[in-house]
Structures are given as C-alpha cells and as structure tokens.
C-alpha cells in the first residue's frame, strides 16, 4: 500500500470514527436509552464531544514540532471540522430543542448567563475557522494570514472549557480534566516556541 492510499484509508477511518458519537446518540434515542431527560443528555453529549474534538485537533501540531511525528497531521483539518460539527449540533440542540426557538429566552440567556455567553463566543470563534478550512481559502488568504486567523482556535478552546467549568454546579472533575488537557496542549506549544527561539538565538 503506498503512502497516498494509506492516508486516504486513514481519512476514511477517522471520518467514520468521528461519526460514532452521533451514531450512539441516534441508537440510544431509538432504544429509548437517553434517560428520563433525553434533551439534557443529548445536549451534554454533544457538548462533551465538541470539546473532545477541539482537544484532538490540537494534538497533531505539538507532536510534530516537538517530536517530528507527522503522521497525525493529515487528519487535523477533518478533526477540527468535526469539532465545529458537534458544536453546531450542541448549539442547535439548545436553540431548537431545549429552548424550542424561544428567541426571547435565548437572548436573555446569552446576556445574563455568563456560561452561555462564553459558550456562544466559543462557537462564534469556530465559524471563521470552519469557513476558511478549504485549500482555496488558505491560498486566498495566504498561508501566514491563514495561520494567524486559525490561532483563534486557542481562544475558542479556552472559552469552551470555561463554558463547561461555569456550567457545572459542584462536581468539577470533568471540566477540570479538559482544563488540564488544554493546559498541556497549549503548554507544549509554548515549549516548542521557546525551543525554536533558543535555537535561532
């Protein structure tokens, strides 16, 4: 199997695997296994997977810059788009199912509840990244500008984790796991930046 075929196969696998969380929601819904409050369950699951995919999208770059592992790089874009996809499902569930398009209630939530404000901001930050995810967009913007723009993902990730931390009533374990993972992923970037600077000096 040549490199192109391997990569193509890898992408098919990553694509299929990324749809598993959605498929499980569907399967559980059909079997009536989403619990007594299925809307809350779906909302929480999509939120969990949004954050998980954001974290996963941040994994390939530090592995490449610190250890030279390039084999994850081809999947970064797809994984990032799945983060957007699950974020879209999470937001859509909130707007269209939980609040059932009660725009007044939604507006009040966005203004008054800081965990919703910052969650909306996190999603808004992902939108330009999803829109400029094509090769054509990279060419149009020029790589340097495109790269600068896509650094917004760091802010989106931080906002997403804070959204989760602020949402939880008392048990912070899960949001703090995300916070720790994000700290590590951003810390690795700082480390590789410092190392690069030292080498240039």
């Amino acid at each position: 199997m040549d490199a192109t075929t391997r990569r193509r196969l890898g992408k098919v696998l990553v694509f299929a695997a990324s749809l598993i969380p959605l498929a499980l929601v569907g399967a559980d819904a059909l079997r009536g296994r989403l619990g007594a409050n299925p809307i809350e369950t779906i909302l929480n699951r999509f939120g969990f997977w949004t954050l998980t995919f954001v974290m996963l999208a941040l994994v390939p770059t530090p592995l490449q810059s610190l250890f030279g592992w390039k084999w994850l790089a081809p999947y970064r874009r797809m994984v990032g788009l799945f983060a957007f996809f699950y974020g879209f499902l999470h937001l859509s569930t909130y707007v269209g199912v939980d609040q059932f398009f009660d725009w007044k209630a939604i507006a009040a939530d966005v203004v008054k509840r800081k965990f919703i404000t910052i969650g909306m901001l996190a999603f808004a930050l992902l939108v330009p990244l999803a829109l400029t995810s094509t090769n054509a967009a990279v060419r149009r913007l020029g790589y340097a500008r495109w790269k600068r723009l896509h650094r917004l993902v760091y802010l989106a990730a931080v906002c997403g984790v804070v959204h989760f931390v602020w949402r939880v009533k008392a048990d912070l374990r899960e949001p703090l796991v995300f916070a720790a993972v994000l700290t590590l992923l951003l810390g690795l970037r700082v480390a590789s930046y410092l190392r690069a600077r030292r080498q240039h000096a």
């Binding site: 079997r31 009536g32 409050n37 809307i39 059932f100 008054k112 009533k169 008392a170 048990d171």
Partner: protein
C-alpha cells in the same frame, strides 16, 4: 378513606406494573450496557408495598412521572453527581437498622427507630409537583406523614424557631461522600411555621411502595413549594433551634442557593432562568408557577418578605 377505595384510581393514573414491564423489556433489548444493567437490577428489587396508605389532601391530578423517571433520574450527591448515579450506586445501601434523633428546643427529645417512627402516624399518599432548581420538574406520588404532626408530638419550646435537618454520613456506604463535592453530611432547614404547614411531609415511600434508596430512604423531607434540594434525604437528625440553620447548597454557593429556596419564576438562578421548566417526559417547557403552584396554600407564610432578597 381506605387505601382500597383509592387503589382503583391509582392503578389508572399510575400503571406502575406497566412501567416496570416496559423497563424489563428495555433492559432485555439493551444488551450489556451499564445503564441497562442498573435498570434490570432496579426492576428485580422493587421495594415492598406499603400497607394502609390513605389518600391525603392537596393531591394534583396531573399525570405522575413514570416510576422509572422518578427512581432513575436523581440528584443525591451522596451516591454520585450524575443523575443515574444514585440508582446505580444506592442499591446496597442499608436503611435498617436506622435511627432518627430529635433534639434541641423540644419537650420530648428522643431517638427512635425508623419503623417505630413510621408507625406513629397514618401514612398518606400525596401526589405533589417537584420542581428542581435545575429547571426540570416531576409529579411524584409520595407516601408519608405530615411533618407538622411530628412537630406537634415533639412539643417545640418557645425558643424553637427553626428545624435543622441532618442527613446520613457514611462514606463507606455513600461513595459520593468520599469527595468533598459538598460539605458532608447534607444539612437543611425550615422555619418552624414552614415545617408545621400541612403541605410539608416526611416521605417514606412513593408509588405505594417503600422509598427506593436513591430517593432518600428511609426518610426524606418533601416541601413541594420549594426547590428540590430542600428535600433532604436519608434523614438521621432533626434539631429544633432558635437561629436560622446552615443549609448545604447555601454553604456551597450562597449567591445561587438561599435558605428559603421557594420556587419563584421571577427570581432567576444566576446560571439559568427559573421562568420555565421541563416536566420530565415532556418536550416543550412549561411556565413555572410561583411557589410551584402552591401559592394559595403557602404564600401567606412569606407575607411582607422581599422574596427577591430571601431567595
């Protein structure tokens, strides 16, 4: 009214057997997932039927939330913080022997075995709305006795102005207590006049059966005009005191959870609106009613109080 008379309508409005059958069916179809296993276990171990339960006052005719919802979707952090944790982790919790002590400013302080306590008063079914502070709600056919009757029997002294409730403390049996998610044991409180109000009950059962462990067995508080977290579970002590007692969620986040915690659509929780609620099993949210729809009965208790400040 004898329970027998009422049994026929209870069968109509609350087909418990049907829910349990459906649950078994779901569990069968669901393979080996943990949730399904927990459900199957729960279906095997139905609590015993309670005898001589009469129909009590104040019952709503709204459709009760299915048994599987009432017993599978719980906030009982002593057994874990996920809604399914209590059902999954409370199965082996020992509720006998169990003693409840009554202390403080009362004429007859004493410690009583739970079964003796239950025999002191006739048991009543009270079909109440239950509104959680998280903006969901249920309708639950509780079985219990009026807290006011107990208060009367214990003989509060003039200095008794509040009741301070304490929940069970036993990290060996309550895995959630092995972490300081909240300060343990859980504590709650009521003003004496709130506790004496005929709506307030101590529950020992639901759906005509003994209280499942995940719902607060063997003894829990039910004050339907207040948010659900006031309903302390697994009660071991009630102390009559002169000053406002500490309450667990208020200790945790005083700006979010007050002592009174009366259901009030006009006062938002900082992190979510309280204007509406989702009744478990329904799709569209419904408006939340002041005092959870019990304003006619209880609003007078708070006459002259600023309910925005005393949330």
């Amino acid at each position: 009214m004898a329970y027998g008379d009422h049994d026929a309508d209870r069968q109509q409005i609350t087909p418990l057997a049907l829910y349990l059958r459906r649950r078994e069916f779901l569990a069968l179809g669901a393979g080996s997932a943990v949730g399904a296993a927990a459900l199957a276990r729960a279906a095997d171990a139905q609590p015993p039927l309670l005898k001589d339960v009469r129909k009590g006052p104040f019952g709503t005719d709204e459709k009760p939330t299915p048994y599987e919802g009432v017993t599978g979707y719980n906030n009982y952090y002593e057994f874990g913080t996920d809604k399914g944790d209590p059902a999954a982790n409370a199965g082996a919790f020992r509720t006998r022997p169990w003693k409840v002590s009554f202390e403080g400013e009362i004429e007859h302080p004493q410690t009583v075995a739970i079964d003796d306590l239950i025999s002191w008063f006739p048991l009543e079914e009270r079909v109440y709305r239950m509104r959680c502070v998280e903006a969901w709600s249920m309708v639950i056919p509780w079985v219990g006795f009026p807290l006011g009757e107990l208060v009367k029997k214990l003989g509060p002294k003039p200095k008794a102005k509040y009741l301070a409730f304490t929940g069970n403390l036993d990290p060996s049996q309550m895995p959630g207590q092995r972490r300081e998610v909240l300060q343990w044991p859980y504590v709650e409180g009521l003003r004496l006049d709130e506790a004496s109000h005929p709506l307030a009950i101590l529950a020992v059962g639901l759906y005509g059966r003994a209280l499942p462990n995940q719902n607060g067995a063997p003894l829990r508080l039910v004050v339907p005009w207040k948010y659900g977290f006031k309903g302390i579970k697994g009660i071991t002590k009630i102390r009559f005191v002169s000053g406002e007692p500490a309450t667990t969620w208020n200790l945790m986040a005083p700006n979010e959870y007050g002592f009174y915690a009366n259901v009030n659509p006009a006062v938002d929780h900082p992190r979510w609106s309280q204007a509406k609620e989702r009744r478990i099993g329904e799709f569209l949210k419904r408006p939340t009613l002041p005092f959870n729809g019990y304003a006619d009965q209880v609003a007078a208790l708070y006459a002259g109080m600023d309910l925005k400040r005393n949330y």
